[in-house]
Structure formats: C-alpha cells, structure tokens
C-alpha cells in the first residue's frame, strides 16, 4: 500500500480537518462526535442531514451548503457513522421544520440512522437511496445499494427544502428522484482500505468487475476486459432495463469516477453512454462528469441516469453553493 498517510488512526481526522479548513467559508467541523455543518446555520427550513462511511469523498461533506445539505456525518472508512453523530448534528442544524435524513441503503447505515431517529427529540423522516441496479441484494444490503444517484437526490431535496417546503414534501421528492434514477458501476482495480493495508479484492490485469459497489463489493460478474464501448453498452442496457424510460424522456446523465480513473476516460464514457441513451430515444439534457461518489483509490466508473420531469429539472438547476457542487451563485 502506498498512500499519503501519517498514522492510519489519524487519517480521518486529518482529512476532515483539511477539508474544513480548505472550505472554511462554507463548512464547520465538530470532532468527537464527528460531524460537519454549514458555516451559516439556516433558519426555518427542513434540515437535511446525510452521512455514511468515509472513502466516498466528496460524498457527503462536499455537498454541505446552500441548496443541498445542512450537515453530514462521516463514519470511519466504509463504516457507517454512529447515532451519537447524527443526534449531535441534528441538534446543531435543527431549524424548526424537522430533520430529513438521506441514507444510502446499506444495513449498517440504515440501522444507525434508524436508532438515531428513534432517539431524536425532533420530528424526522428518512429517504433511503437505492439507485444501483446491478444487483438486488448485495454485501451489506437488503434491496438495492445507494450509490452515485444519492448526489442527485441530495441536490433536488436540498433545493426544495430552501423554499420552506415541509418534511413530507421533501421526503416525497427524495423518493421520487430515487425511483427515477438508476446507476451501475464497473471496477478495473480494487480499492485498498487504509487500515486493512491491502486490496479488498483480487482482480487481474485483463479482468473487470461488472456491477461493482462503491466499497469494492462484488457486482454481477467478473468479465474479461474489453473495449470501452462494449463495457458501457452493458451498463447502459442494465440501466434501461431498470428504468424502462419512455421515448423522448428527458434525462440527467452522471458519469462518476471511483477515485483512480482520469477525467479523460470519464468523458470518453460520457461520449459513449450519451450516444447509446440517445439511440434509445432518451434526450440527455443535463450532465455531470467527475468524481462525485468515489471508492477510495478504485479505478472504474459508474453511469447514472435520472429521468427528469419539470419538478426535478427545476430543483437540479436551482442555485447551489457547496465545496463540490456550485452553480447559479
């Protein structure tokens, strides 16, 4: 393992501290328990809190700010945060209209957020994201996994919350976006969890893992390496199968890097995926390409398609000002 580390045990706090200081105009960091909030507390709105294991940066802390999250709770690498983090974060950002948790569907995250919600002195609701169409049940999940589509849910729900919408409306929009979004990933190499010190899975130079999860957990199958177009065709077919879009449907196409794949390759993937979706009568009218939901140092990428309607499009386009997404301001 070759990584920028001082001591494995210090890595998370050192990274969070760097993040908070690099973006000190936007976010504030609390340690023990670990959570991040907006620098300027919002008032009279549903407070949106997300969180999950670390190693997926910029998810979730990178999406704290106007138009997206109010707080994020980072766990240890690939390990869910604990209820005390969510309770303290909720205490810090509660703004009189309830707490909405956005939680990726993994057993650990679901249970920890569930226990936090039970202990919370405020009204709360939860949106579970489950956009990964690679497998139905997987390591750590019953049902589909929540992956890069979570960013789209957080963006749209965050936008709605800024308008003063109530808790149930925010939850409903989150669930709608989730139900219209599907993702699938491909890994070319494994990631290495720093504390483990060695690759999570073995994969040879001429293989890929089709449908990989964002923790390096297995997907549909191990396959022989092929040209990009052939790989992406399988991915877009799986997404079309899952979403069954109608002709002429407008869509947002997100190509997400897993951490060790250059933008040059991500744009190549975009080029192929956009063409293939177009051939199926989908109008790709919004796009996002980059590292938005990573898996440490895994080489690979995921394709996410979100079927837009006027409401989702409006909330995707609205101003956002966070460390990792910024437009309209």
């Amino acid at each position: 393992m070759k990584k920028f580390i001082n001591k494995t045990d210090d890595m998370l706090v050192e990274s969070l501290s760097g993040f908070a200081s690099a973006h000190s105009d936007l976010v504030a960091l609390n340690l023990e328990p670990n959570f991040l909030t907006r620098k300027q507390k919002a008032s009279n709105k549903v407070a949106i809190i997300s969180g999950g294991g670390s190693g997926h940066e910029p998810l979730h802390a990178g999406y704290i700010g106007h138009g997206m999250l109010d707080a994020a709770c980072p766990g240890h690498v690939f390990t869910s945060p604990t209820p005390d983090q969510m309770l303290m974060a909720a205490e810090a950002v509660y703004a009189d209209k309830g707490i909405l948790f956005i939680v990726k569907n993994y057993a650990g995250d679901v249970m920890n957020f569930e226990m936090a919600a039970e202990m919370l002195p405020f009204e709360s609701a939860t949106v579970l994201t489950s956009d990964d169409c690679a497998v139905i049940n997987s390591t750590y999940t019953t049902g589909r996994r929540g992956v890069a589509g979570t960013v789209i849910v957080e963006k749209c729900v965050g936008s709605l919350a800024e308008t003063g919408a109530d808790l149930q409306a925010c939850k409903a929009l989150g669930e709608k976006v989730n139900s219209r979004t599907a993702s699938m990933g491909v890994a070319l190499t494994s990631c290495t969890v720093p504390a483990a010190g060695r690759p999570t899975f073995d994969i040879s130079n001429n293989e890929l893992e089709m449908g990989v999860g964002i923790h390096g957990e297995p997907g549909r199958r191990r396959e022989a390496m092929r040209p990009a177009d052939a790989i992406i065709q399988d991915v877009t077919n799986a997404i079309l199968e899952a979403l069954k879009p109608s002709q002429g449907n407008e869509a947002l196409l997100l190509i997400n890097g897993f951490g060790a794949t250059p933008l040059m390759e991500l744009y190549l993937i975009y080029n192929t995926a956009a063409k293939l979706f177009n051939q199926h009568g989908i109008k790709v009218v919004r796009s996002l390409v980059g590292n938005y939901t990573t898996a440490l140092d895994m080489a690979g990428a995921s394709v996410t398609l979100c079927l837009l309607d006027d409401e989702i499009k409006q909330h995707w386009d609205s101003p956002v000002h966070t460390p990792a997404l910024r437009w309209g301001v």
Binding site: T82, S138, T142, A196
Partner: protein, 214 residues
C-alpha cells in the same frame, strides 16, 4: 454473574478478538470489505478502557453502558446489532432483579431477539444469528433442565462452533454477503465467527473460574 466477572470477561473477549486478527480479516476480505476486525477491535478495546467507570454499577447497568458505548464506537452493522444485544440483555436483568442462570438465559434470549428485529434477519441467512439463535435456544433449554453451569458452558461452546461452521455452506440472504449468491458458499461469515469467539471466551472463563451463574 457479577460486575467483576463482566469486566474480566470483557478483557478475555478483547484478547480473543485480537488473537484472531488475521483470521477475521481474511474472512471479511473474502466476502466483505475487510473492516470487520478493525471495527470489532475498536469496540472491544473501548469497553476494556471503561473498566474504572463501570466497576461501581450493578450488572444490568454495566451491560447497558457497554451497549451504549458500542453503539457509538463500532459503527457499521455490527455496532447497532451488538449494542442492541447488550441493551436488550440489560433490560431483562433489570426487570428480573436476580442473577440466576434462568435469568441470564432469558436475558441472552432477549438480546438475540433484539438483534433479530433490528437486523430483520433470521436463522440460516449467513449472519451472526446462525451462532446466536442456536446458542440462545440451547441455553434456555439447559437452564430449564437445571444443568450445572460448567456443563452448560461446555455445550454452548460446541453449539457456537457448529453454528459458526454452518455459515460456511449457506447462501447469504441478509447482511454481509447477500448478493454474492453462490460465490459466498465455502466462506464462513465473519460476524458469525466473531460471535462464536466471544461466546467461547466467556464460557471458557466460566469453566476456568468455575464461577456459578446462580
């Protein structure tokens, strides 16, 4: 089972987990993501560090505090599940107000039930419950039969071992390895392994100490 015993048991559990580092790590790397050992180590070490804070409390309060601490230190899926176990156990001990073998058997069963509810899983799904449910059933039965504690411990060590081994040939439908399908066959579930280790650590300590549960 006194507070003093619980604190010694916590040390034994920690030592057992630390002794099995490479085994737990490789099991989790095979069908998980390799963080199970790290999380367990963090949890069991924290409990041992709490010794001074726990010493003055009755067993039910100690188990409840252990549960709360595990909830905030382990994370992942193991954290809430193990925390729920100890908190569920503590509740029964408090209600019953005695330290008989029967009470410990029903407290153990209550703890396992909370795990089942929280994790929405059951026997045969390649999880820690494949160790905990058979051990709980056996414990309840043997306590009802008034079997002496050392013999109960000997039986439970074997039951836990068999439960752990049974996960090898299961297809996972819940937790860690669900979705791996047949690829998970042939691999022992790491959560089942660490539960088996913890049960064996406590039973062995009782056998050595010949301390009676009641």
């Amino acid at each position: 089972m006194s507070t003093a015993f619980i604190l010694i048991a916590a040390k034994n559990i920690r030592d057992t987990i630390l002794d099995h580092e490479s085994e737990l790590e490789s099991l989790d790397r095979e069908i998980g993501d390799g963080d199970h050992y790290i999380n367990m180590k963090r949890g069991v070490s924290t409990i041992v560090e709490m010794e001074a804070d726990l010493a003055g409390y009755p067993p039910d309060a100690v188990l409840n505090k252990i549960g709360m601490k595990l909830l905030s230190t382990i994370g992942g899926a193991s954290g809430p599940l193990l925390a729920s176990f100890f908190m569920g156990m503590a509740k029964v001990l408090k209600e019953k107000g005695d330290e008989s073998t029967h009470t410990y058997a029903s407290a153990f069963a209550a703890g396992v039930d909370v795990i089942r509810l929280r994790g929405k899983a059951d026997l045969g799904e390649k999880t820690m419950l494949d160790v905990l449910i058979p051990v709980s059933r056996q414990f309840t039965q043997l306590a009802a039969d008034n079997m002496p504690v050392p013999q109960i411990c000997t039986v439970l060590i074997t039951t836990a071992e068999q439960g752990m081994q049974s996960t090898r040939d299961l297809i996972a439908t819940k937790g860690r390895a669900a979705g791996l399908g047949e690829r998970a066959i042939g691999h022992i579930d790491p959560g089942a392994k660490s539960c088996q280790l913890m049960i064996a650590a406590v039973c062995n300590l009782l056998l050595e100490a010949k301390e009676s549960l009641g």
